[in-house]
């Protein structure tokens, strides 16, 4: 009798073969310029259950560009491990040829020229085509949404998430979990969740006052698919009241609560679950650790940290699937489940090349309907860019350089701070910058741009605090964003130093002088988690700045010196 672990290893190799053959084909096809929808969707249906995973869409209904990070440093046990492998190292690890479609879709490097060759990615009408195709193979496939769906665009902001709810309802997911959704405010979240025709899950969503499971969100949901009793357990983002404004959803408490996760796994197993799937918004490294501590989960569909991995990562007997962000990918996972055991899997991370995958006409019409009331506002061209504008990276991205410039010049500040979020599509050199593009990287319900005085010492406290949220060697103490972006100031960060001692050499770039701990500096920023923050909305600040510039042209940002990576 072959053990489950042996089976997993055997099928892991099989899965890798599926991936490898896919990559190889794409590379050849790239040379022939003949990538087709059939090739992207090609999948030999396997086993008896199919999972479809989408996550971190951030309200991107239309195709976009999205540059993956070139700097994504792992610490502690995750140093040098995926997803902390980028660029050429990533391509080498997965056997991807330079210039291949997978290079463009999955890694950084040569982005602008590849973007011109391969075009935009994503678009929920293309995602609908892929989901429909998988359902044609396997009509009872489970579609699971990992959250960060009702946030991230002008239309989402102006309709308080309704546009995304309408589009997702048409896509018919079976369950969802949450993060940025809560920044719509708990009343709006309750209103939308109560109307959802699918399960709203989160075993770690608790009532803040009573410290017991919140009534609106179920911990798990059972499904009967392919003759298999499947339990899907939700795991919402654990650090919502810390990373986002607690005052917007004071009724709720979160946390990782892995002891409760274990209790839920045990409970569903006792009720006869043959396959346990965790739909998670923990972030990849947190999920890795959780998989090592909680036993009995077969599949974790990860989210939050926006990683896209072409192969599952195996932790014990649990497979972790990372499906990217912004509508750029759909993961399909086929499983063979027999007698209450997962005996094997086949997986494919499907990149949504928008010029290759045909839009689903019904979904395209529904999306246009959501956007129609705002079409004119969205389309207005504010300026254009000569520089690649992107966000992802541990320390900076050119979009945030531009936002920090806008804060310093429009708000007359010494220093600017922009939050280290990972959402927000890219623009390539020569692109016009529309109002929609600006909202895509700034839209949120607490976007007021503050201006205040801070001592040099307090600025250091902020940097140390955020640095520990990213570089604490224990993933359970990380929040999954990136370093707060700083304009007007440089610093040095030592990733191997302990908390509170990582940041040094803080320098005011304007004068070249060291930051004086005792002196006050005028700091402009946005996305404060404090209630009552006052100031103009960040998208207006950025729009004014771009309109004044006409054409955006940015120098490379070398203001952060990183050691110990």
């Amino acid at each position: 009798m072959i053990s489950r672990r042996d089976f997993l290893q055997v099928s892991m190799a099989a899965s890798a073969l599926v991936g490898a053959s896919g990559f190889g084909k794409w590379a050849r096809l790239a040379a022939q310029q003949s990538l087709t929808q059939d090739q992207l969707l090609q999948f030999d249906t396997f086993g008896n259950v199919s999972l479809i995973h989408v996550t971190d869409i951030h309200a991107q209904l239309k195709p976009i560009y999205f540059r993956e990070p070139s700097v994504n440093i792992g610490v502690g046990p995750n140093r040098g491990e995926v997803p902390h492998v980028t660029g050429a190292d990533f391509r080498k690890l997965y056997g991807i040829d330079d210039g291949a479609p997978s290079h463009y879709a999955l890694s950084s490097g040569d982005f602008s020229s590849l973007a011109k060759a391969y075009g935009r990615v994503g678009g929920m009408d293309r995602v609908a085509t892929v989901v429909n195709a998988i359902r044609a193979d396997r009509p009872d496939a489970l579609l699971l949404d990992g959250g960060d769906t009702w946030h991230g665009s002008m239309t989402c902001y102006k309709t308080a998430g309704q546009d995304m709810v309408n589009v997702m309802n048409a896509l018919k997911p079976d369950a969802m979990t949450f993060h940025w959704e809560f920044t719509l405010g708990s009343d709006r979240v309750a209103e939308l969740v109560e109307g959802l025709p699918y399960a709203a899950l989160g075993q770690n969503i608790f009532d803040a006052e009573w410290d017991e499971p919140a009534e609106l969100f179920k911990p798990y949901q059972f499904f009967e698919r392919g003759g298999v009793k499947i339990a899907v357990i939700g795991q919402a983002f654990p650090y919502m009241p810390i990373a986002n404004p607690r005052w917007m959803f004071p009724e709720y408490s979160f946390g990782i609560r892995d002891e409760n996760m274990q209790a839920m796994v045990d409970e569903v197993r006792a009720q006869g679950a043959e396959l346990v799937v965790c739909l998670s918004h923990n972030g990849f490294d947190v999920d890795k650790k959780m998989a090592s501590r909680v036993t009995g989960i077969d599949v974790i569909l990860t989210g939050h940290t926006h990683d896209a991995l072409p192969e599952p990562v195996l932790i014990g007997d649990t497979i972790l699937i990372a499906s990217g962000s912004n509508g750029k990918f759909v993961s399909r996972v086929d499983l063979d489940v027999r007698n209450g055991q997962m005996l094997g899997f086949r997986h494919k991370l499907i990149p949504i090349f928008s010029d290759v995958i045909a839009p689903d006409p019904e979904m395209a019409a529904l999306i246009d309907e959501q956007r129609a009331p705002f079409a004119e506002e969205l389309a207005e061209v504010i300026g254009q860019t000569d520089t690649l504008l992107y966000r992802r990276g541990n320390f900076n991205g050119s979009w945030d350089d531009l936002i920090c410039d806008a804060l310093i010049s429009e708000r007359e500040a010494d220093i600017a701070m922009s939050p280290g979020v990972r959402w927000g599509p890219s623009l390539i050199p020569g692109d016009p910058i529309t109002r929609e593009d600006i909202w895509n990287v700034t839209s949120m319900t607490y976007g007021e741009a503050y201006r205040s005085e801070m001592t040099g010492e307090f600025i250091k406290v902020i940097l140390e605090d955020v640095a520990d949220n990213i570089f604490n060697p224990d993933p359970y103490y990380q929040q999954g964003g990136d370093m707060v972006r700083i304009g007007g100031m440089g610093y040095r960060i030592d990733l191997r130093a302990p908390a509170g001692e990582r940041i040094s050499d803080m320098t005011l770039l304007r004068t070249g002088e060291p930051i004086d701990p005792a002196r006050n500096y005028v700091v402009a920023g946005w996305a404060s988690v404090n209630e009552g923050t006052e100031g103009p909305q960040i998208w207006d600040v950025v729009e004014n700045h771009i309109a004044r510039l006409g054409t955006v042209s940015l120098d490379p940002n070398n203001s952060v010196e990183v050691v110990g990576a």
Partner: protein, 144 residues
């Protein structure tokens, strides 16, 4: 039928609601930090082993002013909780009488900053067990 604690309390509001919570009803809590003292004072030279005491606390506090913690120490007669980084580390003492249904207690504590929270349980045989957890208190923001 599922009842949440809140519903149960709402139903029992006219009656003696607190009797529905045996863990609280039979645990006598001392809130005076001076009375709780320090780990060394409680141990009085004895050593504490690990295991047999579950200390549940969040990895990162949602609000450092009110951090929910709980202790579960089957067989304990007394559990003390210390916030080792607070100016006065003593946080709580829970004493469990022979009628206690479970040696479980929960409360909320205030943490001055990121620090280790330690619980020490004195067992019926006079031995001690301990558990420790780091709770991070952060200014927040910037979540991906």
């Amino acid at each position: 039928m599922d009842f949440t604690r809140r519903e149960t309390l709402a139903l029992g509001a006219g009656a003696a609601a607190m009797t529905l919570l045996p863990a609280h009803a039979f645990a006598q809590a001392a809130a005076d930090a001076e009375m709780v003292g320090t780990p060394d004072e409680f141990l009085a030279g004895a050593s504490a082993s690990e295991g047999g005491l579950d200390l549940t606390a969040p990895e990162i506090a949602e609000n450092g002013n009110t951090v929910p913690i709980s202790v579960d120490a089957p067989g304990a007669v007394e559990v003390r909780v210390y916030a080792l980084g607070n100016p006065t580390p003593g946080v709580a003492t829970f004493r469990f009488g022979p009628l206690s249904g479970a040696q479980f207690a929960s409360t909320r504590i205030r943490l001055a900053g990121t620090q280790d929270v330690q619980a020490i349980a004195k067992m019926a045989d006079g031995s001690y067990v301990t558990a420790m957890k780091t709770v991070k208190v952060t200014i927040g923001g910037c979540g991906g």
